[in-house]
Amino acid sequence: MKNRLRVLRAERDWTQADLAERLAVSRQTVNALETGKYDPSLPLAFRLAAVFAQPIETIFQPEEDLGS
């Protein structure tokens, strides 16, 4: 699963710790999400969508575009 978390976070000038606090997770979890080592659960994905005020599908994309 690819994601745009690092870009979205940088656009807001947030540190990983800032985002972690907003999501109520650890900084290491934010790092694992950004590097693609951990895919979030649906509830956490919805929290990310709410924090960035964007639909989930604009934040996360499958590695291969299954729709094409």
Binding site: A17, A20, E21, A24, V25, S26, R27, Q28, T29, N31, A32, K37, Y38, P40, S41, L44
Partner: protein, 143 residues
């Protein structure tokens, strides 16, 4: 988020949220207490200081009560942990369960083939070691 809470488990818990670290500390404290009670209980029973019969049996059963506290603390840790930490620990439990079952069942066959007879607690040691190793592997996978 300031986090000055020290961890009994040291650097293994440095990346936990304060809530998770407190729960991990609670589990570690119960585990240490359980270990001390088992060692003390084993000593008293081996030395036959409590005699035999009902008092000794009641004492042996009572020595397991702290373990129930440790299990309860670990269940609470898992229930309240953030999802990545929970995933790491569940994978660790999977490794421990798999290794414990395979070792315990497999060694019975080896005993029939002439291998030395082991104590039932040896399977527990293998389970615990695999549980710890599984957590390390899962931690590397998700970090």
């Amino acid at each position: 988020m300031p986090d000055a809470l020290p961890s009994i488990a040291g650097s293994l818990c440095n990346d936990l949220r304060p809530t998770d670290k407190a729960n991990a500390n609670r589990f570690a404290a119960w585990s240490l207490f359980t270990a001390v009670v088992y060692v003390a209980g084993t000593y008293l029973l081996i030395k036959n200081l409590l005699g035999t019969g009902a008092p000794a049996v009641a004492f042996a059963l009572a020595c397991n009560l702290p373990a129930l506290g440790a299990v309860s603390a670990y269940r609470r840790f898992l229930a309240e942990a953030e999802e990545r930490v929970r995933q790491i620990h569940l994978e660790g439990l999977g490794y421990g369960m798999a290794a414990g079952v395979i070792f315990s069942m497999g060694w019975r066959l080896l005993e029939l083939a002439g291998a030395p007879r082991l104590d039932v607690s040896d399977g527990v040691v293998v389970t615990m070691l695999a549980w710890a190793l599984g957590q390390v592997l899962a931690r590397r996978k998700y970090s």
